[in-house]
Amino acid sequence: MNGLTHTLTPFLNWLNDSWLGVVTRQYHYLFTAGLVLHFIGLSLLMGAMLIVDLRLLGFPRQMPITAAMKFLPIAIIGFLINLCTGVMMVSFDALDYWLNPAFRVKMALVLLAGLNALWFTLVEQRRVLSQPSDQKTTIAVRTSAALSLLVWFAIIFWGRMIVAFQSSSSF
């Protein structure tokens, strides 16, 4: 058992034994419903991110940047749906998820996506919104947008890999 696992074990146990974990294990359909909602949240998040990030990269030109950015609340709603359903599914067997390498990579990438989004929001967003729509975005903004798309698609990849890595595939 490595250091991080040791540190996290009390939290993982707490989540696992919480009412959420108990209820999720008791009613398997809740887990299934969580999974369905996780994919609906994914569609909302990815649809909005495609519009925002592609526009920051310059596509399609007909879309004003300010208009593309109006889709961001949908991305946030999608993310929150997936955060809630994700926590619920992890509570089903918290330690099993934590020990799954695909899950760890996915969580690290979610963190990276979050930091990237935070940096964009705090540092670049204001300037991007005030610049003329036909003006090219800065290289920093385009890098951030490309990274965002890359990381979100990688998150989908590693999310799918979780089951592939699961020893006892009950789902």
Partner: protein
Amino acid sequence: MIHFLAPGQGVLDWMQALPISEWITESNWGFPIMLVLHSWGMAAVVGILVMLDLRILGLARIAPLSAFPPMMSLAWVGFFINLISGVLMFMADANRLIVNWSFLSKMSCVLLGGIVTAVLWRRLRAAGALAVHQSVAPPRVAVAGGSGVGVVAVNSEEEAPASVPLAVDGSVRVLAILSLALWSGAILFGRWIAYVMDNMILHGAFGGH
């Protein structure tokens, strides 16, 4: 149990015996790779179609609908990724999927979702909402008043189509809601396929496993 499908049986067996089908079912990575492709494709096709539906229902009204045709091309890319990965996954397990009610429901949702989206897209085009009226300037007028499906959201007032029939507004909204419901249904039944499969195996529908 499935004798009514007997004439097609040979085709299903043939599909399942293909090398690619064997790779998908037997190898460690065949099936996960197909599922990854299917999820990526879904992110593009469902993601973008849902954004279009939400735009029609009033979200981001300053976004011109004329910016959506390029996004639609991307949705097509997603659709073809899912068509290919979907057909391959079907071939690998054809005999069981053809009697899986969740799979059949999903296919119905996808088919209807496609039809609804096609009709919706034609309505927008017919109303002139997809044409680019002006180079790139941001729209000064979002959408007129509350009528605003955005069929009238063009980049400049003077070039707006003289009259956009209001009947289009209401029905396009209904189509957008239908589209949202059908794509959600496709996701729901898609996820459910595996559970139906497990139950069928549990109840010995396939001569014991």
